[in-house]
Symmetry: D2
Subunit: 307 residues, 4 copies
């Protein structure tokens, strides 16, 4: 079978599994997503992208944006500042857990991929005002995607802002222990906005391939991200990128990846390709069921694992 045929077979297989999960429904804008949509773009470091399935579907990045705010914060403030505010360890808890903030003084979030850590990282992005921080984040994503039209979904943003009380709880806890600087609502506002950045699989795969290529634009060979920060991002994607299923994903698939509750996954095979997937039906840990299955099949067949 050709690769295209294989992929189409796996897509069919994957679609058959989506009834085991459910679409995120904590905000209406997410709940409307079709559970059995499935789209994938594979963007090789060398060569043209391959796109299959529901790839015209536009989705919000959700937690995937955490990878790029981490990179931007590192570029803006350096490792020392960033890692004095957020740790490097997986937690074993779910992404919105508040437990370790109280249990492990002084309440520094364990890593930048859980909500508490990503809110903290957002606060470290350069910019005098929340608006400036936000515009810098958006511009950074547009720049990487080489697409100035990328924007954010105002409905999703407004819904998150109206309902994200757990994130507020995290934010005020972080403020209380002195980890989060500035005004909590302002930092959260920037956080909600970057979670609501919209794109397609194709654009997501473009972001991924830059990471797969150590920060170099595969078209122009310009260094869009310093290689050392790509390395840090890839490491976090392996140890903490798939929520508290990251360990299993590392065993089963073995590549850097980050998922979002929109059902999106950004994945990459270092030196080889970037991958963007959308499949809104989520397993109990918040990862796209179909997406996980696709990546597992691809990794087995094409030996993706770094390990």
């Amino acid at each position: 079978m050709t690769n295209d045929h294989l992929l189409l077979n796996w897509m069919e297989e994957s679609r058959a599994l989506v009834h085991k999960g459910q679409v995120a429904d904590y905000i209406p804008a997410l709940a409307q997503a079709s559970p059995d949509a499935l789209g994938i773009t594979i963007h090789p470091v060398q060569g043209s992208p391959l796109t299959l399935g529901d790839c015209d579907q536009i989705f919000t990045l959700q937690s995937i944006s955490k990878v790029f705010t981490l990179i931007l914060a590192l570029m803006d403030r350096g490792e020392e500042v960033v890692f004095s505010h957020v740790g490097m360890e997986p937690t074993g808890d779910n992404f919105k857990s508040i437990l370790k903030l109280e249990l492990v003084p002084p309440g520094k979030p364990f890593n930048p991929m859980i909500n508490a850590g990503a809110i903290t990282v957002t606060s470290l992005i350069g910019g005098e005002t929340p608006e400036e921080k936000w515009h810098r984040i958006l511009a950074f994503i547009q720049h990487l995607a080489s697409d100035p039209d990328i924007g954010f979904n105002e409905d999703v943003y407004e819904s998150e802002k109206a309902t994200a009380n757990r994130n507020r709880s995290l934010g005020y806890f972080l403020k209380d222990v002195g980890v989060l600087e500035g005004k909590v609502e302002e930092q959260l506002d920037v956080y909600f906005k970057h979670c609501a950045i919209e794109m397609t699989c194709k654009q997501l795969a473009r972001l991924a391939v830059i990471l797969a290529n150590n920060g170099l634009d595969p078209d122009t060979s310009r260094q869009l991200i310093p290689a050392k920060y790509v390395r840090i991002a890839k490491t976090f994607m392996v140890t903490c990128g798939m929520y508290n299923a990251s360990g299993e994903f590392a065993i089963r698939v073995g590549i850097p990846a980050k998922s979002g509750v929109s059902g999106s996954i950004l994945a990459l095979v270092p030196g080889r390709m970037g991958i963007g997937i959308i499949g809104p039906s989520l397993d109990e840990k918040g990862n796209s069921i179909a997406g996980m299955h696709m990546l597992e099949r691809m990794s087995e067949a094409w030996e993706f694992s770094m390990f």
Copy 2:
């Protein structure tokens, strides 16, 4: 020795211990309190109050207000409503802990004496608006104290409001799990205000003697609080009134009591007397060191323990 002499001796003893603790310093208005101030009023159910020491000192109620907001919520909404929002169990954790909200679904606060529970109870007070809730609480306290001049300390309130990020974290968590209704900031605003209600030992002892007298005004014999709600309040004061030192206090002293981080303690001997104490130096669990020592001495000598 007469009782007065005994009390003066114990006060001297107690003052000698205050260097072992420290005044609450998380807001400037509290930090200014003199660590070795010590005042006590004993208000017998029958007879005149006895006042010794620094009894002109005005302090804020802080957590002591939790007893009266619980009573008012019970009077306004009844047991069924109140206890569908807040539990009846001690936690073993500190008063500002958020752990059990996450660890024990569905996140109902364990009791009304911890911050999470008291914020929830505050939201249940009758009133169309936060202002109305607040005025009803203040009026209730004034009514019990028989003193329409009782007010609140605006500085303390403003400081709490400006810095109480842990309480905000609790509030938004409670909102997220559906336990807290209404707007979090509005409920917190009422909460901060009633924590900042000001009085003296003498007034505090007057509140206490009403509880000691099963809700009857000792002067007029009018029923100011239904006896069944006094009983509930007294029970919570025994099981959860002295933060996570309540169990030890029950063993050592054995009476209903509630402390506040201002160093105040409201205590009572059922059927016999109400007691109001101020002594700002706190032990590590947040209870007045001198106040605890006074009560222990009094309980031993005068057989206060209910057990």
Copy 3:
């Protein structure tokens, strides 16, 4: 209605509730108990005991023995030694929880009514050997019950010993942190034995009335237990006696009580009466459903609450 009629009515009511719970089934000997058995003995401080229902039923004390091992340890070693090994605070966790031993260094059990605390207290009982400790405990119970024929259920003991791996886990944790002295298996052996002491409601009520009478034998007026240790025991029974439903029991019933997973409850109204109940169907927290209902009814009608 006479008291007897009231009690019979309440027994009927209570029996109707037992299908909501279930008999402890972690060991076969307990699982054989009839779920709708219900027996009660009321032993007044002055006057003759009243016995109703299935009072010939013999049951094992289980957690009720914790009250008497605490008292004996206090008599053997004094307050200072006992409370340097075990705390005085309720936990909010279930009786077999290990969480706080790790979460709150140095791992001292929070109180003597949870398993970790009771195992520790058992180790403090006087005696050169485990056999001697055990014989002293049994003799103490026989002495209080004024019945040298009280023994223990060998089947229950053997079953517990064979299956009580959670208690072993607690024991070895306590050993690891230096709280438990001696050999863990030996201490556990004594613990399993005293949990398996057998009696009837009538005998249980006799134990209870001694506590209700401040340690005095109601028949002979001899001081069987020093009053100060009775006070401590009663206090713990109020704050921690009914597992993590103790707070609610204090509100609803308001008297010292201790339950066991055999469905037994020892309760007392200070100065008035001791109560022994057996009703094997348990609610989710481990308390006898019928027994709780009986006590609630009695407390309402006859004003038992200390609060």
Copy 4:
């Protein structure tokens, strides 16, 4: 500078840091280790091993044995059985923590690199009796090391056995929840023995190079371990190998590694080399201070990171 010179410089640098930590002292046999000993062997996939420093020092494997018992259990029982008993996720807690066993029902250990997980894995090793399990483990290590003289340290084993009450606590908890089969003491006995297996850096590096070579003996090219199990082991070493500093190690060094409280580290650069280090002074998380520093230097200079 040649590589040898670089290594010697880094060893000097590393030795200067050892005063910041301390030698494990929970058993006498470990406490006797010299804090500033430091030895390293680098075993390339192709070519001769390079050995520097205190390489005649014999040490016990401690937690490093967890890697090989995992591999042997996988070879004996397959992935399905092993991963039905133990998970694949990092915990964020220390290696001896019991918290998640209670907090996350049904109490399956999160991964095979924490003590609870490794005890469970030990129980899955093939063999009718504990002796047979143990002999199979030892034979497997001897076979990999190509050295039939490798044995275990009886003193260390006896000390562990006598004092390892936390491990017993974990074992009995696992037994209670049904995760651990067989007799707890027997499983622990095997566990204590394999933790006490002794070797030198040179032998450790030989074990490591087999993993670096995907299970192939670098000398004979025989497949000593199926490649798929080597991959699983390497993945766990990255996500959980360095206790709850694994995330940071992945960022700073980026290679599969496993440390033991003897101050030993087994590390490997896939396809390139195996590394064995001994340096007994430990940081607060239990990793060799000098060893960590050496690996960080080497990784920076020679681009070890897989990420």
